[in-house]
């Protein structure tokens, strides 16, 4: 990675970690002061994170969309962005940072250890569909991660209604936010799959080939489809829905980070 990018990425990691500690302190000591400064630290981390993406973009000449490090860099940016947007729309969701920020730091860390070599954009990525595909992939991923956080908080709050956890948002609100986020993620993932299919047709002459990435993107989409149907058709809500939101993320995590360990990602030519 470039020198400036390195400084900014590590600054973002430091600020996100500091922000997490402040949020945690805010919940433990019931001090609004910590929550306020936690949010400010999160915004500062986000600014550094944005700077690191711009720096890498300037260095490589393309958006960071290739390989584990770039996906982690860009993906976590979307996760934090989703949190910030939600925090603005629903101020009660401020404590979501306790679940979202550690995940972002972990994903970024995983990306850095995978290698951050500066590389030009490879020929298969030179397609306008790339931007649609990647943008909506990260919208979906960040929504699912935030829904997962809402699910975790729901279960924590449902277990202990007094003390530290009583400062978490209301159960009903957590449940509904989670459902809304899942619906948005489901919509975004549908666009991701559709644009990927069109891109694949121009690149490999077929729109669907059942390679591991395609199969797992369908699996994770179906998992959330099942999730939505269980809520709507069978009336699942509350704890069961929270477990669904948590469990469904497995497919997405596997799709984004686990597939590389079991097989070639897409077909091996171009």
């Amino acid at each position: 990675m470039a020198y400036l990018e390195g400084i900014l990425v590590w600054a973002a990691i430091g600020l996100y970690s500091f922000s997490f500690l402040l949020f945690l302190s805010g919940l433990v000591f019931k001090k609004d002061f910590f929550l306020r400064w936690g949010y400010i630290a999160c915004l500062a981390g986000f600014a550094a994170h944005t700077g690191s993406i711009i720096s890498r973009w300037a260095e490589t000449g393309h958006l960071p969309v290739m390989m584990t490090y770039e996906n982690s860099l860009f993906g976590t940016w979307f996760i934090v962005l989703t949190y910030i947007v939600m925090r603005r729309a629903f101020p009660l969701s401020r404590p979501f940072a306790v679940a979202v920020l550690p995940l972002a730091v972990l994903i970024l860390g995983n990306g850095i250890q995978a290698g951050a070599e500066l590389q030009p954009l490879e020929p298969p990525y030179k397609s306008n569909w790339l931007y649609v595909h990647v943008l909506f992939a990260w919208f979906a991923f960040s929504s699912y991660v935030t829904a997962f956080s809402a699910g975790i908080m729901y279960l924590l709050k449902a277990r202990a209604k007094k003390g530290l956890l009583s400062r978490l948002p209301e159960l009903k609100l957590l449940d509904e936010l989670s459902f809304r986020l899942i619906l948005f993620g489901f919509f975004s993932e549908a666009i991701m799959i559709g644009s990927g299919a069109i891109w694949a047709h121009g690149l490999w002459g077929r729109y669907w080939g059942w390679d591991p990435v395609e199969t797992w993107s369908l699996i994770s989409w179906l998992a959330y489809g099942l999730n939505i149907h269980l809520r709507i058709t069978l009336g699942w809500s509350g704890k069961r829905a929270a477990w669904l939101a948590i469990g469904s993320l497995f497919g997405v995590i596997f799709l984004f980070f686990g597939l590389g360990y079991i097989s070639e990602v897409h077909t091996s030519i171009f």
Binding site: Q119, P120, L121, E122, P123, P124, K126, S127, E170, K172, L173, D175, E176, F179, R180, L183, F184, F186, F187, A190, I191, G194, A197, I198, W199, H201, G202, L203, W204, G205, R206, Y207, G209, W210, D211, P212, T215, W216, L218, I219, L222, A223, G225, L226, H229, L230, R231, I232, T233, L234, G235, I262, S263, E264, V265, H266, T267, S268, I269, F270
Partner: protein, 456 residues
């Protein structure tokens, strides 16, 4: 028949089918597949782990999806989705009722008292509903006023119906593709003209259905950054038929469209021109399309008197030698060198190292590396599933967006004269977002109660 209709019409049954479909995909995806493995590794798997290979050949995703069980489940899922969507549509047309009126929906109520007269309170309550674009109707009975208001009544339902209709069309793309597809590939060496129908290796469909044309690729260009990172591969293809003669540019992601046949660049490699002579007689003069830059390639040299003769070629585009170590510094042909080894009956008989333009005696043969070109591999496809899939997405995605944005909710506001003004009761119903609606209506009621600003 009625029982069958009832079964397919059950949304629970659809959920179970979806679960089966999902489970098959999850289980099959953990098995290795030929699709994402180099041929050598696939053969290695067959030798070293025969049980896994046996399972993979039958149950890995690309195979299992072609099996009767998966096709059957998919077909039932299609029928079930179709039946559920149709029956929702019919019920809606027939009863004109909101689904959440007859299904389990969440409700809550907010009650209070305002010092205002009932007429004034009602006027402000209706203004507030109007400002937030609620549809409402008012009825009065013996001094009591009832307001029934709805919002997002249709969007959720129609969004869902349109999305499922789009999904059904997407489902149809699979059989349309299977029934109409022609697919195969071919490889061309730069500057060598071939007949399309002859070089085409079919996977599905007949080569005879392709246009009768001669094809030549030229101007093949490769671009690397720092000599090692792939940046661009492109070229031009001349296609000459009886009635046409055109040159098409192509590159990765930029296929050629020839009368509905999509010709897509898939592979790119170096092609070494090699001439072999034995006792003054030319025995071999071909371009070797080198496909394995690291492992090298073997070529059978079938010739009378020299049965079982094989040539192994390993190409270094930017050759270097450090002691016993041979290698390439980059992928660019700055110092092209070809390593040639000759085998007979599996035994190596001789080997040599040739720079471009050089010749050397390797065993009994005079071998010359006389030219370096590129070769390109293409996939040819024609099918009708793509427009069906695109149509399905065009229908389904807007439906899904509307479904996502929808929020069906209903309010019943009861007003009656109280001892010091107006008693009011807001009762709200929301199918999915009762907490959001509660916040919205509580704010509305509080605002009215205090005679304050309209806020939610």
């Amino acid at each position: 028949m009625k029982k069958l209709w009832r079964l397919f019409n059950s949304r629970k049954f659809a959920v179970y089918l979806l679960f089966v479909f999902f489970s098959i995909l999850v289980l099959s995806s953990f098995l290795p597949s030929k699709l994402t493995m180099p041929v050598e590794k696939w053969i290695e798997l067959k030798k070293e782990r025969p049980v896994i290979f046996w399972l993979s050949e039958r149950f890995s995703t690309p195979y299992v999806v072609k099996g009767a069980a998966f096709i059957g489940v998919s077909f039932f899922l299609f029928l079930s989705t179709f039946a559920c969507t149709l029956s929702r549509l019919l019920a809606r047309v027939k009863t004109r009722r909101l689904e959440f009126e007859k299904e389990l929906s969440f409700s809550f109520s907010v009650e209070g008292e305002s010092p205002e007269a009932i007429g004034d309170f009602k006027a402000r309550a209706l203004d507030a509903l109007r400002a937030k674009k609620w549809d409402f109707s008012v009825s009065e009975d013996a001094g009591a006023v009832t307001v029934e208001a709805e919002k997002g009544r249709d969007s959720g339902f129609w969004g869902s119906v349109v999305f499922h209709a789009g999904l059904l069309v997407c489902f149809l793309a699979a059989p349309v593709t299977a029934l109409t597809v022609l697919r195969g590939d071919f490889i061309l060496t730069e500057g060598v003209t071939s007949r399309l129908r002859e070089v085409f290796v079919s996977e599905t469909g007949k080569a005879s259905s392709l246009p009768d044309a001669d094809i030549t690729v030229g101007g093949l260009k490769r671009v690397y950054a720092k000599g090692i990172y792939d940046v661009d591969f492109r070229g031009k293809m001349r296609i000459e038929g009886r009635t046409f003669n055109r040159e098409f540019p192509f590159s990765v992601n930029n296929p050629i469209d020839l009368m509905g046949y999509q010709i897509t660049l898939q592979e790119f490699g170096y092609s070494a021109g090699v001439v072999m002579e034995k006792q003054g007689e030319k025995v071999f003069d071909y371009f070797l399309n080198l496909r394995h830059p690291v492992a090298g390639d073997y070529f059978d040299l079938q010739r009378e008197g020299d049965e079982g003769l094989k040539l192994y070629a390993l190409f270094f585009p930017d050759f270097f030698r450090e002691g016993n170590k041979l290698g390439t510094r980059s992928k660019e042909p700055r110092n092209p060198v070809l390593v040639v080894r000759l085998f007979k009956g599996g035994e190596e008989i001789s080997k040599g190292l040739l720079k471009l333009g050089e010749e050397a005696m390797i065993g009994d043969y005079r071998v010359k590396f006389n030219e370096l070109r590129n070769w390109a591999g293409f996939i040819v496809v024609k099918e009708s599933g793509v427009p069906v899939l695109a149509l399905g997405m065009l229908i389904g995605l807007p439906g899904l967006l509307v479904r996502f944005l929808s929020n069906e909710r209903r309010l019943e506001i009861g007003l009656k004269p109280g001892p010091s003004g107006t008693k009011f009761a807001y009762k709200g119903y929301s199918r999915y977002y009762p907490a959001f609606l509660e916040g919205e209506v509580r704010g509305m009621a509080e605002g009215l109660k205090e005679g304050g600003d309209w806020r939610t």
